[in-house]
Symmetry: D2
């Protein structure tokens, strides 16, 4: 972390800051600039995560030097993430096409769609058995019945299946049927759900929230990965 002092910060304030941070075990690098004094704080960032740096008298702003995500960063894993599902390779040169209906509604119709999208080049079938709908009166999905239809379409076509989970209580059920577990945009910051899929052994496709920053998306990936599941696909 770096903290920047206010132009009118006093010597006493600087001394107080130095004392506090040294006391927390940090090494400090103080640089007196033309306009402001800047303090580099060298040490473990996580200790500072909860510390109210900008509330200390004389401090104008604090800036992070290292990234708040660890397992999701290129520093932890410099190579591209490549996920293998039998003969399918996601994240390699060939682009995978996922296709299918919004929601799973009918067994025969789903099978027909699966055969059609396979013929057109798709390698994975998507379809929702649990549907996040704006209205409580809209169709909410077939639940496990829909998952079974997806599995049947996989058996018939060889397509891998991907389907959404909305509720931590349904994660085990969805994991049982899906090849890839989908997290929808509205659930990108449903943190307990992220933790549950982080314990799964299946890859997770994480959709970016409607107004989320890249940083927030990566932090949500970090939630999943921090639980052990390193196979996250950003969507």
């Amino acid at each position: 972390m770096i903290i920047v002092l206010r132009p009118d910060a006093t010597e006493e304030q600087l001394e107080h800051i130095k004392e506090k941070l040294s006391g927390l075990g940090f090494k400090l690098n103080i640089s007196v600039g033309a306009e402001r004094t800047v303090i580099g704080i060298i040490g473990d960032r996580s200790v500072l995560e909860e510390y109210p740096l900008t509330a200390m008298p004389g401090v104008e702003s604090a800036m992070a030097v290292s990234k708040p995500y660890k397992v999701a960063s290129r520093e932890f894993h410099p190579e591209n993430t490549v996920i293998k599902l039998d003969n399918l390779v996601i994240g390699a040169e060939k682009i995978m096409v996922i296709a299918g209906p919004c929601s799973v509604e009918d067994k025969d119709l789903l099978l027909e769609i699966a055969q059609t999208v396979k013929k057109m080049g798709a390698t994975m079938l998507r379809g929702g058995a649990f549907k996040p709908r704006t209205s409580p009166y809209a169709f909410q999905g077939l639940g496990e019945e829909g998952l079974k239809y997806l599995a049947a379409a996989r058996d018939a076509t060889g397509l891998k299946i991907i389907t959404e989970v909305m509720d931590p209580r349904d994660v085990a059920l969805v994991e049982k049927y899906a090849d890839i577990i989908q997290l929808g945009a509205r659930n990108m910051q449903n943190f307990n759900l992220l933790k549950e899929v982080g314990k799964c052994k299946k890859p997770v496709l994480l959709k970016r929230g409607l107004m989320s920053t890249i940083m927030e998306l990566l932090m949500s990936a970090e939630y999943i990965m921090s639980q052990g599941n390193k196979e996250v696909i950003l969507c």
Copy 2:
């Protein structure tokens, strides 16, 4: 619902639309305007909710006449919603002030805060025992321990307590301690969570999502109310 035809819609297309909608049991009101033909569809809207009106050949747009929320509307309940918690009345003329820390961290500190905010005029104490944090490495809340501290602060001060629930699995636990259950902005469209708090007997404070429309906020209130809980406070 009202559908507007394209200026170049043909007689055949109009006939096809009339046949389809009449077949679904709707009464139609057809109005041939200077520029376009407009069809009013009279009957139960919910049947049309899933029907792909705008995909019919010749149709340019479809517009809802009635509102998609029912229980949350003024038509269902024209008066202001007034919620009573013993001697407290929320939604009447007097404004209630809710105050308290972001998260519950320490029993004595919480008690001190409670006494302070009470002295300053607050009638309710807020504080998070379950915290939705962007980073998995940030403090996630004390859980039930935090709820117990809140209850102790209520006992000591008489303040009502309000606290957030993030996970459908924790709803029963939070309901046991809280006077009002809070739903955070990030969970405004966590639909299964909405359904669970809709089954509670405690009032729900529903925060508006970060980029949500008023319509989406009202639909989320409808989710809660459609389960039986009519005491929703929009925040």
Copy 3:
């Protein structure tokens, strides 16, 4: 236009609305639905544009049936817009690539860039002589000098040139040099500037504003086209 009455609208209110709108010369189509009464207003929309329909007692909402843009609509001009600049055809099957530096800074450097982008397949050169910069202390562009460098690069390479205008007072100057006049995202709703370029004889490339809807973009195109200039490229 269509107006929807409130469920509790009275007979008197309906009569008052009918009287007012008939008095303005409109034909009305009244449809009494299961839940609400809907009135279709048949006639010239522009008369209603300024009329406070939703302020009339008993009215819940008003919805436009026809589009607020006319010249920019497919109804006015059903075919794709195709713009010809000598041998270049914009809007046909072949995609045109426009390339060049953010701002024009140096004559020789610009020429070198022009030759490079031409070699790589670009058919038009872009570069700013007037720069909309967030800071008043940042480089604001070379002005006419920059336009001359662009013209020189066109002479040397045969590339067409496109450059931005920010100020109604500079439109004539930019038109003199540019093959296509660019309007930047921040100026999409600079309405007087839109009117000025609408009087130009050169095509206009109109960038979509940072948070603008498609409707707003089309209305800005309408501003330009309503002045006579029909060659608008949406960007």
Copy 4:
């Protein structure tokens, strides 16, 4: 400015950066941290404004220490800005209420409105003579005629008047009539317009753009103030 090096930055890259920046006359403060090397660049920020710091090999990010606005900052003018218009004081303890119609449409009606809002406590009258309208077919304002009506309402009531300018070519005209010049939300980044009102002797009310950050708002105030007009009211 501070630049943060990539964790894998090489010694050669560090040497190259040091050479370049020293060559530009900057003093450097290099701090080797646990995870990254951080370089503080001490000297005049404006020289770096255009310099592609993050494009140098080995650099991960660059962060500004000082603020990009100068005249608009508290450092330049630590006290609150207080603007006096005869007996009115804006920015002091008493809140001023500005009221009036969206657009000036009729002389008598405006006078009636002025008298009404005065009676209700307003100290300034607002009304648009130049109207930024989404549609070219909507009423665009009365222009100078509207300004004269405003002046007449001021004469009759003693209210100060505030009105919007949209076009650099109209600034002198609006300044002649208005007590305060308004810049609308859509023109917050109409930089040439900002410069023109910056040359005026009348206070400027600057509205925040629809999706603008506080930093962008302050930079727009800086545009005005950098031209000499220090009386900017943020709205």
